[in-house]
Amino acid sequence: MTLAICMFVTWCVWIAFSLMPKKLSVLDTVFVLFGGTVFELSIFTLLHVNLSWIVVNPDIEKSCANLVIRLLLIPVALLISTNIMLYDWKVLKWIVAAGILLSFVPLQMLQVRLGVITALHVPTIGMLLFFSAYMLFARLLAGLIRAAGRKEERRLS
């Protein structure tokens, strides 16, 4: 059941991503997905394996549910936030981005409640800081690859 619930939430995030208007090109999206996942997984592994601040349940189903969240949900959520931060909206985009950031709190709570995470030694504000770092890093990557594309276009023209 745990895995099914996590997959359902992940699927909803994928639907949200597929429906939203996108500012990133396909190549930009792939790059941000790869880079964002690398950053997020690295931080998670440091917290989980090295520091034991997050303890994941070793049960097969619950560990797989955690993998679904880490590998399939969070990277796509980062893509959503990156696209939103690239919108032309002035204030609204930051409000929506803050909303996405706050939505990571119930996601963590859901994982704790489902027994996916058995111990969470990071306070909520700490988790928010980590997730805001993921979002900022993903936005930075988007800026980087867009700048690389623009620079090359200028050079070629």
Binding site: V30, V38, L41, H48, S63, L67, I145
Partner: protein, 170 residues
């Protein structure tokens, strides 16, 4: 947490030398792709390495450890960076020699064999520590799948972007 050794020895030298050789090749090879494509092709290897090491190498599966311990170390990250060089060279050679569709399976097989050989060397250098009966032969299967996915990504990126990589003489 499993600790295999705490010294700067064969595994660190293997990762650093592999990264150096890969980086030199990536820098020295004539430019072949647009900047965005090149960045994606490089990041692809980094992502794949991390993806498998954090799904197969951690609980609940935990089939192997990388480098000196099961903790995440700086040499682990450098090894992922060197995977980026491998993926870039993989795409570079594929595009350079212009593999025909009928030969794609052969190209994937050759690279899977090469990658398995590299992994065997890495095991000898104590970069990988297999656990729970994991064997090098299983990696061969994973490489076949990964390299096939890489080629699918390559063609997909080209198709979606609606462009062929810019070709340079040589």
């Amino acid at each position: 947490m499993n600790v295999y050794d705490t010294h700067f020895d064969s595994n660190e030298w293997f990762v650093l030398s592999g990264l150096f050789i890969g980086a030199v090749l990536v820098v020295l090879l004539p430019k072949r792709f647009r900047a965005k494509n090149a960045i994606v092709y490089y990041t692809c290897g980094l992502y794949t390495g991390l993806f498998f090491d954090h799904s197969l190498g951690l609980e609940p599966i935990d089939l192997y450890d990388v480098d000196d311990s099961s903790a995440y170390e700086w040499t682990d990250f450098l090894s992922y960076v060197s995977y980026g060089c491998v993926s870039y060279i993989f795409f570079y050679v594929y595009d350079r020699i212009g593999v025909r569709p009928s030969r794609i399976a052969v190209y994937v097989l050759v690279w899977a064999l090469l990658s398995t050989g590299m992994e065997w060397l890495a095991v000898q250098a104590h970069v990988f520590h297999y656990r729970l009966g994991y064997r090098l032969a299983y990696s061969f299967l994973i490489y076949l799948i990964v390299h096939s996915c890489w080629l699918a990504l390559f063609h997909w990126c080209e198709k979606i972007a609606g462009e062929r990589p810019r070709r340079h003489p040589g």
